[in-house]
């Protein structure tokens, strides 16, 4: 495969907001992390491991955001994740028996699959990675098959951050955190929600970040028009490479109508034994409030379009697996065609950038990790038109790029800032921007500090960063758990303001500071002077 017709750059963006509540013995929103670990991150690691063992030459680019890394190495959350995994495995073992006779027999295959997969996940979690999944991903990066990139410190949406200092801090703190977790500097970054605005590239360049990703129109509406469209990266005015996403590969996976995940043989997400099983039986596996919720074992397939949840048919793992293989073949076939065509146009191999939320694979699209495994195997064994590549490798091979000033854009609905700036969430920005200015004021007023003052200033920076997570504005727009997002925004702004006032007055309450430090414990290495 010396001369491929084109390259496929598969990007998985793994992110969750910092959700850690030591003040409660259990906390509903922490489930986001545990579900993602059990259904996405551990299965992906299992996939990588099998591929490496079989000498499959694959390349995947993953962004692991700083809040996610911080949670994955947090001992409290690791312990809670282990407890969750144990209880789920116990339930899965019981389920193998419960489904072994009578009416439940039709679910037996699925129950056995869960037991098998959860046993494997448990083994990886405890014995292979010693609870630390970051170490797992890092090992694959060191092996050369994975390129891990970073993201804004708390997934802050860059176009709506007011001050240059605060933008710089999002990048610089992310860089430091990446170094802590991966032992080297990040070559690339995933800008939260692909949110780009002119000038952001300067901060990337300043921190030595060589490339980032954007949505197609960010590049296509750039000035001047990009000669190779989205099929080659460009340099921004500050000489950072920008890769834009390929529309066709995105649509095949994302689209509700045309996308693979909606196939009728795939697992139905919304039918869960948390609701279906007898209450007394399932009660020990629910939260202590006893409310029925998803537990993660689901026995039905999508069955058909618009079919009532009650009429769904049993899930058949073998058939679903076969569908995943077919879809991987179809995806590869389409990319081959695309590359051959584009090679004819350009007389040089195009790069197809296919970015997705990592949590789509496994959590939403249960067969997603299998799809990725089949895709990597097929690309390696079955053809020679396309080759998987990471952005760093591409830039090594292609040193000359067109210079474009991309336009402000994001990959959110409608392509710009509206998801994070609309009537449901525009009230947050006056508070966030004020906090930015105050943080800069603190950093300039106290260029050096020690003791409790330094702790308070560092904590103020953490509170600001946590308030800036784009997730809160996003949740307010989608309307799912709005009260939690509102509370998180207000809490962090409130804590920031108290710390600001106390630091300015030089009367810091230690008990208060201890409390904030124990709750919002992200970025132990933080240095608030990045805001100066």
């Amino acid at each position: 495969m010396a001369h491929p017709r084109g390259y496929l750059c598969l990007v998985l963006h793994a992110h969750l907001p910092f959700v850690r509540h030591p003040e409660h013995p259990e906390f509903l929103e922490e489930d986001w992390l545990f579900e993602a670990m059990i259904e996405t991150y551990l299965p992906l690691l299992a996939v990588y491991e099998r591929l490496v063992n079989d000498n499959v030459n694959f390349r995947i680019t993953m962004s692991l955001t700083p809040p996610l890394c911080e949670m994955l190495v947090d001992p409290l959350l690791q312990e809670r994740a282990e407890r969750r995994l144990e209880s789920l495995l116990e339930l899965a073992e019981k389920e193998v028996h419960r489904t072994s006779r009578g009416d439940m027999r039709k679910f037996h295959d699925a129950a056995c699959m869960y037991e098998r997969k959860l046993t494997l996940a448990m083994d990886l979690f405890q014995n292979r990675y010693h609870r630390n999944l970051v170490a797992g991903f890092r090992a694959f990066q060191d092996h050369g098959v994975l390129e891990i990139i970073t993201c804004g410190a708390t997934h802050g949406f860059m176009p709506l951050i007011k001050t240059e200092n605060a933008k710089r801090a999002q990048i610089q703190i992310a860089k430091t955190n990446y170094e802590k977790h991966f032992g080297r500097l990040p070559r690339g970054i995933w800008l939260a929600e692909c949110g780009y605005a002119p000038g952001v590239d300067r901060h990337l360049a300043d921190q030595g970040v060589r490339f980032f990703f954007m949505d197609a129109h960010g590049l296509l509406y750039g000035k001047p028009y990009p000669r190779y469209g989205v099929f080659a990266p460009v340099y921004t005015p500050n000489r950072v490479a920008a890769f834009a996403r390929d529309i066709q590969s995105s649509r095949q996976v994302w689209s509700r109508e045309e996308g693979y995940p909606g196939d009728f043989d795939y697992r139905e997400f919304y039918r869960d034994i948390g609701y279906d099983a007898p209450y007394d039986y399932i009660r020990p596996y629910l939260h202590s409030d006893g409310v029925r919720r998803n537990v993660g074992l689901k026995y039905h397939r999508i069955t058909g379009a618009g079919i009532d949840l009650g009429k769904k048919e049993p899930y058949l793992p073998d058939i679903a697996l076969e569908r995943a293989a077919t879809h991987a073949g179809n995806f590869m076939f389409n990319r081959q065609h695309q590359c051959r065509h584009l090679f004819g146009v350009f007389k040089r191999p195009p790069i197809l950038v296919a970015p997705y939320d990592a949590e789509l694979f496994g959590h939403w699209w249960y067969e997603g990790p299998d799809f990725i495994e089949f895709l990597c195997r097929k690309i390696h064994f079955d053809q020679s038109d396309i080759k998987m590549i990471t952005p760093s490798e591409y830039l090594e091979k292609n040193k000359s790029l067109q210079v474009i000033e991309p336009t402000a854009s994001s990959w959110g609905d409608k392509g710009y800032n509206e998801v994070w700036l609309n009537a449901s969430n525009d009230w947050i920005y006056r508070h966030l921007h004020l906090a930015e200015s105050r943080m800069i004021e603190l950093a300039q007023r106290f260029p050096v500090s020690d003791g409790i003052l330094r702790r308070a200033l560092n904590q103020a920076a953490r509170e600001l960063l946590l308030a800036q997570s784009s997730d809160w504005a996003f949740i307010m727009t989608t309307g799912t758990v709005v009260s939690y997002a509102v509370r998180r925004t207000r809490e962090h702004i409130h804590r920031f303001t108290r710390l600001y006032e106390q630091a300015m007055a030089r009367t810091i309450e230690e008990s208060l500071l201890n409390d904030y430090e124990s709750k919002d414990s992200i970025f132990q290495e933080i240095d608030y002077t990045v805001y100066a």
Binding site: E193, Y225, A423, S483, Y484
Partner: protein, 327 residues
Amino acid sequence: MGDARCRKAELTVFAENRIYGYISDRERFYNQAPRGKQNGVNSVKRKKAMKKKIDTMTKAELYEEAQRRNIAGRSKMTKAALIKALSDLSREEHPTSTRMVHKSDKPVSPTAEPEVKPAEVSSTAVLPPPHPKAPQYLTPPPTEVYRGEEGPPLPDRLPVTVLQAMPRDPHWIFLYWDIADEDRKKIRTEHGQWVFERSLSVLRIREQENGEHCDIPILLDAKNWYLPVHPDRVYQFELGLMTPDGRYISVAASEPVRTPAAEPSFLEEEEWLAMEERYRELLDIYGEFVPGSLPGSPRGEQHFKREAARMIWSGLAPISSRSGRPR
């Protein structure tokens, strides 16, 4: 530039503002006012009807009404006092609804001169008509609905004077502002005690490229606003007061902001970092030949680029980036 038109509209709105401008607690009106279209005639009718209704009520009915409207000291009032309190209240309330022109989809001037609507101010050269996909309101619903429900309350007012402009998309800009107490005081000392109440509050919009400006009347206490704009231009905003004697007082200014582009650029110059020439091949495949415009002529180049862009974009619908997170 429609400067004259702009000014005429300003003056009309200004006149309107003087009628109701003395009402101090505007934010309450903003929050409570109904959404529907209202005009002066209707509200007068309703007021009369209300007055009549109050006059014909028994004392018990009046008391019940007072209770519903939460009138203080009602239990000690005589029938006459109840009538007075209720009619005072209704008099106070009705200007409220007529102020709420901004919320209805077609603003109607309370001065009953429908040919000069505040909305027309925005259809000058500086500002385009609302984008077809744009929402039906110009100001957002009050954000205060969250207050007191979740988490610690945040202060209503910022301690600084600020005007911040943020592009929402190529066609809309969001602005928020606040005026610090000391700045308010300073302006009052300088320009008169009632300068805020008597002046028309405006957002002055400057377009950087041609230097033209236009004033949009706003509600100062709304503290935020969505404005329709043109894609890919640089705007700078000012929050100001138009005094009755025609002076303009600047209260706060924003940084210049550029709106995002909404279509491919057809700039001719290209810069490359050591990239070889492959452009012709791309054009040969993508572009369709237009008789009379040879490739190489400016028009031909332009056309090919446009075609190339169209083909890349053909069939492209917005793709949702998220299938549902957060859970």
